[in-house]
């Protein structure tokens, strides 16, 4: 694999991850539903739950960092710094998707031991959009994991090439 192909592949992974984070943010922020049940109004927004707010913020940080890394990747001086920051951002993305999934699971299935009822029956549009946002966030997290493994491999490839 030539250097050009390697750099192109890393760039491609980063661009797709950026697209996934942007999609996750957009879908989550536009998720909104309300339902009226027996004079009680359920208004479901992403900002009601701190886990979803953290998800949006983390994806925004990851998306902004992706843009910065795309600009910096053309200069090989920063490659090691970018690799270490990639690990930090992968960590941030994985914790945010995990937190959002935990709260969404409670919303969908409830928790009978704690007396928490599921809310997806009353606000199905909100639940569908949140599911879509979580899928996009999950794709972004997996892509970042692949990216750090690939970056480490391509940074060390000269090492392997010289083996007898």
């Amino acid at each position: 694999m030539t250097t050009k192909t390697k750099r192109f592949l890393a760039l491609l992974l980063r661009v797709i991850a950026l697209g996934a984070t942007v999609a996750a943010i957009v879908i989550m922020v536009t998720s909104h539903d309300s339902a009226t049940v027996l004079n009680l109004t359920f208004e479901a927004k992403y900002s009601n739950t701190p886990a979803f707010r953290y998800f949006v913020i983390a994806e925004a940080v990851a998306g902004g960092y992706s843009v910065l890394a795309l600009l910096l990747s053309f200069n090989s001086l920063f490659s090691r710094l970018v690799l270490m920051m990639d690990v930090v951002i992968a960590m941030l993305l994985s914790s945010s998707i995990s937190a959002a999934l935990a709260i969404a699971h409670v919303g969908k299935k409830g928790n009978s031991h704690a007396g928490w009822l599921p809310i997806c029956g009353q606000v199905p549009n909100f639940c569908d959009k949140v599911t879509g946002a979580l899928i996009a966030g999950f794709i972004a997290s997996i892509l970042y994991l692949l990216l750090i493994l690939y970056s480490l491999h391509s940074a060390l490839a000269p090492l392997f090439a010289l083996k007898p």
């Binding site: 886990a51 937190a99 935990a102 704690a114």
Partner: protein, 201 residues
Amino acid sequence: MALQNGGKTEGEHESVPFSKPKGRWLLLTVRIVAFLATASATIVMALNKETKTLVVATIGSTPITLTLTAKFQHTPAFVFFVIANANASFHNLLMILVEICGNKLDYKGLRLVLVAVFDMMAVVLASAGDGAATFMAELGKRGNSHARWNKICDKFDSYCDRGGWALIASYIGLSLLTLISALSMIRLMKPKPANQPTTIP
């Protein structure tokens, strides 16, 4: 190249970072502390259980009691927290063993690379476990008025306390794991090209 001979014998390849004995002991110490932190988080959360008996009604002179239990298995987020921290502590233990007696087993210099790769994956896994448990604990502590979910920490306070301690230990383990991952990656860097030996033809 200095990394060509695979493994590091002490004092030989001095220009690679963390190959001298002092650097290796530093890495080993940080790994041991991280292992203790993640293992204690696993154990504290796995043994987290609280039972409360409430008197619901009284018929005649016999009270009817209701027993409520709070266990960590009730919440999938905490189950994942225990599993992720157990994996992270097992990873730390394995890496400690590889550091101590691994100089002989090496396969074409891949030992350090594999250690770095596994460290990165352990960081991602541990952070996922922490994130899920943090927000689930926050939900249990404050409830969510919009979704009509009541808080449970006022009734089961020692359960919540122990969960909090497990979370703190896990955060310490996670930050140390990040440090270890950075150090492992620094160790893979090529030495300074001041006086490099001739390259392999």
